[in-house]
Structure formats: C-alpha cells, structure tokens
C-alpha cells in the first residue's frame, strides 16, 4: 500500500435528509476529511445498484449511500428499497472480493450535520487501513494481456 493512500469515496446523498445534513455541517463549519464527493439524488431509492458498481469500477475505494431514517423517508418507502438492495448487493460484493466496509448505507436526518462528519471520517479511516480497491498494478495486469 502506497505511503499516503487517500481513499476516494463516492457518496450518494438523498436530497431531503442526508444532503441537507451535509449542508448543515457546512453552515455549522464542521470540518471533515475531503475524501468523499457527493452525487445528489432525490431519494436513496433512486440509487441503482449499477451506480454503486460503476463507482467501484471507475476507481472508488468506497461508496456511501445516505438516506432518511426508516419511517422518515420524504417519499415514504424509498429508503426501504435502498436497504433491501444494499443487503443483497453486500453479498454479491463479497463474492467479488470486495470487503463489506467499502459499501455503507447510513441513515442521516436533516438535523444530523455532525453525523455526516462522523460517518465520513470513520469511513475514510477504515478505508485507509483496508487499502485501495485496486491493490496494485498487478491487479490491472489482466487487462494488459488483451491490450
């Protein structure tokens, strides 16, 4: 693992809860690691499993999905769909050799600015220890065989 590996996280935040919480962290000037970049969706239920896989394929070391707490979804039930997809996707990722810690589904309400900081920082620290998703140049070598 390179000396200063900084993990890249793609974060899918729902517009009403988690995105607002991240904005609240901003207005409160709460500081956290800059490793996560947010893709905004209206609801965590919009997060297609293909998005998560694409993020990993394109170089994300971790993917974070943020939605409203169960029972509080702005659109009633979208977050439950996200939860179900997430539980099955975890098992598929395990079969593909991707550790559980790399995909996180977190419930963060609009009032929980500090939780955005806590979740992102914790995820960054965990991923720093786990290392990059693509372990080394050898891991890309299989592509060179057909280049």
């Amino acid at each position: 693992m390179p000396e200063e590996f900084e993990p890249r996280i793609v974060a899918f935040f729902c517009n009403w809860c988690t995105y607002l919480a991240a904005d609240l962290a901003g207005t409160s000037r709460i500081k956290y690691y800059p490793n996560a970049e947010v893709v905004r969706v209206m609801c965590s239920g919009r997060v297609d499993v293909q998005f998560v896989l694409k993020a990993f394929a394109k170089g994300a070391d971790g993917v974070l999905i943020g939605g409203c707490h169960p029972g509080d979804c702005h659109y009633q039930e979208g977050n439950y769909k996200a939860l179900r997809r997430y539980r099955l996707l975890r098992r598929l990722l395990r079969q593909m050799g991707i550790e559980d810690e790399r995909l996180r589904l977190e419930w963060i309400s609009a009032a929980e600015g500090d939780r955005v900081r806590a979740v992102i920082n914790e995820m960054v620290e965990t991923l720093r220890k786990l290392g990059p998703l693509v372990k080394s140049d050898a891991a890309r070598a299989h592509l060179l065989e057909v280049a």
Partner: protein
C-alpha cells in the same frame, strides 16, 4: 459471387455451432446463399487459409465463445482483420457467457484445481519438434473487449428464430446501426405466456431454488418465489425455458437501457421483497444462494467490475 462467411469458436461449448445447425432445412438455404471459408467444427479449412486471404475479404465472420487464451485472442484479431463485419454470436461472445464465471478465479486457481501442483508447460520440445499450448489468461473477456464488434446475436444459444432473423437481416434487410443487438429491445415479460398471472403488487417473502418446489405451470414463476430474470432479460428467445416450466436465467442479456445486467437485475429483484428490518431482509435473501451465479450467470466479464478482485 456468393458472399464469403466464416464461423469461429473461442471459449465455447459448441452449442452455438449447434444453433446454426438447428436451422434444420434452413441451413441448406444458408449453405446455398454463401461461401463458407472457415468452420472448424464442420469443415476442414486451416488457420493459414484465413491468414492467406486479403484483409476484409470475408463478408461476415460469426464468432462465438469468449476470449480467455492467447490463441483465442490471436484468432479474434485475425478474424477481425480479414472480415468486413464481425458478429459476436451467442452469450459468450456478447457477454462472456457461462465460461465468464471463471472470473471468480485466476488461471493459477484453475490450473491448480485441475492439475494439482503441475501446470502444463506452454512449450515442449522433443525430438526436434516443438509443441506449444496457448496461455490461459487470468480473465475471460467478451469479444468486444478485444476487437471491435459490428453486431451481437444474443442467447445461450441463440434461438432458431433469432438465427434465421440474423441471416435475413444481414442478407436481405437494411443493416441496422453498428453495435446493435439483433433482437427486440425490450424485456421478456411481454412475450411470456404467463405474463397475465404476474400480480401488480408483488412482494416476496422467500426465495426457492428450482428443485425445492413443484412449479405451477400456469403461474408467473417469479410470483412463486423462484428467481426468474425474465423482466430483466432481452426478449426474442420465444420463452423456451418458461415453456419448459423453468425460470429464465438471463441468457439473452440486457436491453440497451441497462449497462450492467447483473446489477440491474439484482436491484430490481431486491426491490420486490418484503421486509423493512435487516434481519428479515437477510432471511429472505438466504434463499438466493449464489448472487453472482444468479445475476451474472452469463454476463460477468461484461459487467462493470468484470471479475473478482485480483490480489
């Protein structure tokens, strides 16, 4: 002058060759209409015959099977050079196919499993003669990962109608946009004989494997708790598996609006389960014993992740 065509097979089971023969009497029409210059399963032409041809001399090459050895790579490139059009024929060429599940392992894993400690040597010289074996790659690739592909014919294997439609299109019809899949661009449910029995409010509370229950031949298979990938799979096969009272396993691959077949299929199937609590949801999914095998049976190499993470 009759158009010149060629057939080649890479990492394949031979089923796609059978699929052409499945045209039955129709294959005679094909044989009449074209000049087949290469078909290892059926005819005695050699690779050097192809090498000797001019570039682009072959009108259409139908290549089935996935690419996972150095020889297949070499042949794919050769067929591409010598052909005006290359058709990726069958699920293996289009998506990686069932051999693609080897992407859960490496070449080393496979050789160890099969040969124990001794892997075959790639080169062996004896008595002045040198024998070579192709190199087994760590990964399986769909055809378009190694050469540009003009058209795709889906299926494992492609159904007779799809094959005969393919010949019609290539010979008699207007050529569709390059890169097209020569099959309808919507999912299978529309053609499924059981489509009307699928309820509007489907909520599954468990999954079963096909051997775990007697499947009602008149009802939607997914509604009976057996994972059927028909809703996620391109139509055109004539629902032969359904007619045989078995669920669709997705061999016709994705529609044009899906980018990662297994991911989309998983996303959709997971959405129709009951359960709002983690424990309940996990229990329901216990019935799906092998997510990769279920959702990426034919398409692992063409997925976003392509293969299991390498060390």
């Amino acid at each position: 002058m009759k158009p010149v065509v060629a057939f080649y097979w890479c990492a394949s089971c031979g089923g796609c060759e059978e699929a052409v023969l499945d045209l039955a009497e129709g294959v005679l029409n094909v044989a009449d209409a074209v000049d087949i210059v290469f078909w290892p399963v059926a005819l005695d032409f050699k690779e050097k015959d192809i090498e000797a041809m001019d570039d682009g001399a072959i009108a259409v090459s139908f290549v089935n099977g996935a690419v996972r050895t150095s020889h297949q790579l070499q042949m794919a490139r050769l067929m591409r050079r010598k052909s005006k059009l290359v058709v990726a024929f069958g699920a293996c060429a289009q998506l990686g196919g069932i051999p693609g599940l080897a992407n859960l392992a490496t070449a080393g894993d496979i050789l160890r499993e099969v040969y124990g400690g001794t892997a075959p040597e790639l080169q062996f010289t004896d008595n002045g003669h040198t024998l070579t074996l192709p190199k087994l790659f760590d990964s399986v690739f769909p055809l378009d990962r190694v050469i540009p592909v003009d058209y795709y014919v889906p299926g494992c294997p492609p159904s007779p109608k799809i094959v005969s439609d393919m010949f019609d299109t290539l010979w008699n019809g207007q050529l569709p946009e390059p890169g097209s899949v020569l099959a309808p661009d919507h999912a299978m449910c529309d053609e499924c004989p059981r489509r009307d029995s699928r309820p509007q409010e489907l909520k599954l509370d468990r999954f079963h494997r096909v051997q775990e229950r007697v499947i009602d031949p008149d009802r939607c298979i997914l509604a009976q708790g057996i994972p059927c990938l028909g809703p996620a799979t391109r139509a055109g096969c004539g629902s032969r598996c359904i007619a045989g009272n078995m669920p669709c396993t997705g061999c016709f691959g994705p529609t044009s609006r899906m980018r990662d077949y297994g991911g989309k299929a998983l996303c959709s199937l997971a959405s129709v389960v009951e359960g709002n609590e983690v424990a309940e949801i996990d229990r329901i999914f216990e019935g799906l014993v092998d997510p990769v095998g279920t959702f990426y049976r034919y398409s692992l190499p063409s997925s976003f992740l392509e293969r299991k993470r390498l060390e």
